[in-house]
Symmetry: C2
Subunit: 136 residues, 2 copies
DNA sequence: CATACATTTGCAACAATGTATCAGTTGAGC
DNA sequence: GCTCAACTGATACATTGTTGCAAATGTATG
């Protein structure tokens, strides 16, 4: 699906910044930060607009937000091909040296049984350490 | 163990801010943020000193840092009674409404087998949602 | 106890990641 | 093409840090 279709499918208005952001995330196929996206897209939009767009896209279930560390937040496209809201079910690895965030697709997150009354909205598993490149 | 003993035991110099921070964490027995600690301790030290102290105490294995969200970081004392460095092995629940961070001691984190070459330093599992108080 | 020297602290400035307000612009439906 | 709600840009501000440097403090030694 192209950006316009994704937005229409999730009943979100089509605007220039939103299309550009989705397009960039599709092309890179890896979690990107605000800085990464700015490097790719330049001054296409204001920072305020960026954050509001990300909020809108997250609420709509189009993207997912990963807090790699308190000073590094990255965004990834959800799997929109199958038409349902797809929450990541795998572990994320964050290299403290090269600051890369890697999806460990093969490491699935177990389902946790919360006590009565608690409602889960998202569940993130972040392993921090050194990636194979930096651990030499 | 009292704060001075903990610092000596980990070969970290005893200073006023460090003792005060450990004391506050011991008394509260729950994860505290910079703001929480400032409310407790007032202007006992500068913000820069706080962050440097937390870095030192984390490196020494005396405390552990929990990234509840990119805008909320909390700190907890490790279990120093048994003389070894104790990494939390349980899930943390973060209530998006009341901003409370709860240790789910009964939910243990599984060990993940990383690919060759990767080195794990910390592993955090954060479930975000609504706590039993706010989910009504 | 006094001195020496490395460690730690306080202050000021700066950086990244957001949020709030409000006027002005744009998009979608008719 | 019009209309009006929704979105955007600009400015200001909040939180969570980090960096550099001079001054203060802690620990080891005489």
């Amino acid at each position: 699906m192209n950006p316009s279709e994704i937005l229409f499918h999730h009943q979100v208005k089509k605007t220039t910044p939103r299309v550009a952001i989705i397009q960039a995330l599709q092309q890179r196929c890896t979690p990107l930060s605000e800085g990464d996206l700015k490097d790719l897209l330049g001054d296409l939009y204001d920072r305020t607009t960026f954050y509001r767009s990300m909020q809108t896209l997250t609420d709509a279930g189009i993207i997912h937000r990963i807090v790699a560390d308190n000073v590094l937040v990255k965004y990834v496209l959800n799997d929109c091909e199958h038409g349902h809201h797809h929450q990541p079910d795998h572990v994320h690895f964050y290299c403290q040296q090269c600051k890369d965030l890697i999806c460990m697709e093969e490491l699935k997150v177990q389902a946790y049984q919360l006590p009565d009354g608690f409602k889960e909205q998202t569940c993130d598993v972040i392993i921090r350490g050194l990636c194979s490149n930096c651990n030499k």
